[in-house]
Amino acid sequence: MIGNLPFVACVVLIILGLYTLIFKRNLIKIVIGLNLVQCGVNLFLITLGYKSDSVAPIYTMAGKEEMVLPTPQALTLTSIVIGLATTALILSFAILIYKHYKTADASKIRRLRG
């Protein structure tokens, strides 16, 4: 009944993020599109490691002894922090561009002004 619906949901997130990244002109909306692509990729990494009828891989008061795969969850932690570092730097650039050009429209920022 479920089929491959979780994989299709992750791919829909990535496609929506790509649409926002290409077709919007405000600087903050471009940053939101980049963040959507990162969220879709992290969700896809976690859904790769699911086994049917299993619980979380922690032995403290667990339900039963069959557990999902723990390795993709450990790698997704690192990926989330790297996404955060990228978003912090690109938001700092957006603040500096707005202070210098007095506009936040990406199609009016064309010439280098000293």
């Binding site: 979380a56 922690i58 032995y59 403290t60 008061m61 667990a62 002894e65 932690l77 989330i80 922090v81 955060l84 912090a88 938001l91 700092s92 603040i95 500096l96 202070k99």
Partner: protein, 153 residues
Amino acid sequence: MMSKIVRTITNILYSSILIFGFYIIMHGHLTPGGGFQGGAVVASGIALVLIAYGYDTIKDWIKKSNLSILESIGGLAFIGVAFLGIGTTFFYNFLANSGTLFGNPTVIGINPGDLNTAGVLPLMSWAVGLKVLAGLGSIVLLMAYGIKKGDEK
């Protein structure tokens, strides 16, 4: 500086957020959590105080140089603990299943947890938690300083 209701609720909630974040860092080897998650929770508490009171009041309470010292201590402690087991290999867990500081052995199978177990892992979890806390707090404070510096010219 936001309204009176927001400042009152922030005064009540700030200590609860700090205690919850440190609880998640400390019990990283028994329940879901660990260093990164607890550090992010405490940094969101710092961001709440910054939004409620404005940057001019905050810069006497939380200084940027103190956060920088905390981050350096966290990073050096992480590498120092990794170097202590260099007799066998780098990153060796030399305190697990021994009798000293964090060295009780665990019961195999499903059990309620014991805080005294898991060797080197709580020390490394504290170091990474301090580093993430100071890093995220520094980023938020620097962005607030940058916005205010551009407004007054």
